[in-house]
Amino acid sequence: MLQKHANLMTDSQPILSLKSVRKMFGPHAAVDTINIDITEGEFFTIVGPSGSGKTTLIRMLAGMDQPTSGDILLRGTRINDLPANKRPTCMVFQSLALFPHRTVGQNIEFPLKIRGEDPAKRKVRALQLMTLLRLPESYYGKNVMKCSGGERQRVALARALAYDPQILFFDEPLSAIDYKLRKTLEKELKDIHRETNKTFIYITHSLEEAMVMSDRIGVMRDGKLVQVGTPHEIYTAPRSRFVSEFVGDVNVIPVTRAGNGRLRMNDSGRELVPPGKAPEFASGHLVVRPEYLRFLKQTSDADNALEGRLYNEYALGSRIQYQVRVGENVFVVEKLRQQPFSGKLDDKVIIGWDANDGILVSE
């Protein structure tokens, strides 16, 4: 992987620390004992399905909610009780929360007006930010509700930057935007992160989005942070079935540890060769990503092989996925479009993988 930010490598004090942060709604823990340290200048993304508590978490970080227990430290200072308007942090909302009765300029200048800066200075700063975010200068006097989706996105970000926060929070700001524009804005956001050098904390339910932008990713489930790591770590070394399935299409095989150190498939009893660095456990799941599965000429061509029938194929742009029925189960094999598989539907096929391409998870 490329080395992204020199300051990620220094072991200076974290800009934001969460110590056993919990939030109870009645008897239910929406956020359950979370510990993270966020490094200055980092792009940190919290990803999880809806209801996993990520919005509650970010609202506590922004000061719109108070944790039931635990501490939130900003550069070592406890800020649990500091209200949102006193925190040097700012949030871009899912709804964007623009002020519909104001112009683009007035929206961007809002935090400066609140701070009592004089109008001339305010305008200079607003135009600066509009240039940074590629908004034409003529938009300064335009009503914000007349802007397109992508433009509003940029106004919201400019307004947050005008506050000059030490940390910027993002609450799924791209989720309502259509696919093509979202892809463009994801890349723009990463560029802005690079240009401003601020700490970004982003939440989303889309791991695809998280992978594209983040330096580190934290995966949330049922209020708990189940894994934290770089996109590469999350993708190649998921620590649970949940994380592996969240990242993309995977083949999950329930297995039990056999006496000879091998794995036994729970349904067919067939024995499999485990990956080299396998954790100790009695039963769990073997995860094999579709791009590591191959079509074989004969069963001896790979460490592990299974026989089945070709059931379906799906085109995915540069890749093609094949579904193979093995007994009751369906396996997914992914090939590049340049090297497609030439079988016919319902043909008998052999699929296999090298032992070290499998990932063993105990859950």
Binding site: N85, F93, L98, P100, H101, P111, R115, A160
Partner: protein, 278 residues
């Protein structure tokens, strides 16, 4: 001719006939000679001259002043209540709204008689004070405050509902964002909450003003003829004095005054601008 128009035409004609008929009749009659009951007389401005030479303008002023006072009091009372209903009371809002709604199911006159019974000397309030506390107080019944109380009481829901709607249309996110950008509670209110809920407030004010100008029962029942609003003058012209053309002319003038005021206010506070649509 679009199909929409073709289908709408009969309904609009029916509306013009049904709804405009009485208004046209009133306007036409206002130009008939005084004290006639036929619509075939020679048109004359005599009724309007009579009005301008009479003291009717006092009734007009009373009606407008009473309505204005009612609207101001209603705005002051209803805003905090509406704010509470939307933002503070949570699940108790339903119950509170129900309490506001139930009295509307009882005829207005019955509720006003109820106030008479409550306020009158030896009535529920003063009677209790006298019998159990030995306090002797003057009744406000048949005075200006009683009329204003009655108007505020009767029209509160009509101010409260549009206001509640207006306040509930201000998104929570927008308020959170303003706070997050450093605004204090008061700044959030002044910069975001008030301008965004203004359409609801304006509609409430207009609605209650129009209703209050046309009010008659409150002055009659609670005011005991102390104050004669213009609607009362009109009723008298149509009933006791049997001078229909005069009543019609008074009605036309009232409609003109109210109409002019409504148009003026609506132009001043362009709703589209307030809503940020342009």
């Amino acid at each position: 001719m679009s199909p929409g128009f073709r289908n709408a035409l009969p309904v609009m004609l029916f509306l013009l006939a049904g709804f405009a008929a009485p208004l046209i009749a009133v306007t036409w009659f206002s130009f008939m000679p005084p004290r006639t009951f036929a619509f075939t007389g020679t048109p004359t401005l005599e009724n309007y001259e009579t009005i301008f030479q009479s003291t009717s303008y006092i009734s007009f002023l009373w009606s407008l002043a009473l309505a204005a006072l009612t609207v101001v009091l209603l705005a002051l009372i209803a805003y905090p209540v509406a704010y509470g209903l939307v933002r503070v009371f949570g699940k108790w809002s339903m119950l509170a709204t129900l309490l506001f709604t139930i009295p509307l199911f009882v005829s207005e006159n019955i509720r006003l008689y109820g106030w008479v019974l409550f306020l009158i000397k030896n009535g529920v309030m003063l009677g209790t004070l006298k019998t159990y506390f030995g306090i002797q107080a003057e009744s406000i019944l048949f005075t200006l405050p009683a009329i204003v109380l009655g108007m505020v009481y009767v029209y509160l829901p009509f101010m409260l509902f549009p206001m509640t709607l207006g306040i509930s249309m201000v998104p929570q996110d927008t308020r959170d964002a303003a706070t997050d950008l450093g605004a204090s509670r008061w700044q959030v209110f002044r910069e975001v909450e008030l301008p965004l809920s203004l359409p609801g407030i304006m509609i409430g004010c207009l609605l209650t003003f129009v209703l209050a100008v046309g009010a008659i029962a409150e002055a009659k029942v609670l005011g005991g003829q102390q104050i004669i609003p213009i609607t009362h003058d009109i009723e008298i012209a149509f009933t006791y004095s049997q001078n229909w053309p005069l009543g019609a002319a008074l009605s036309v003038l009232l409609m003109l005054v109210v109409g002019a005021l409504v148009v003026l206010v609506l132009r001043r506070f362009d709703l589209d601008v307030l809503l940020g649509r342009r």
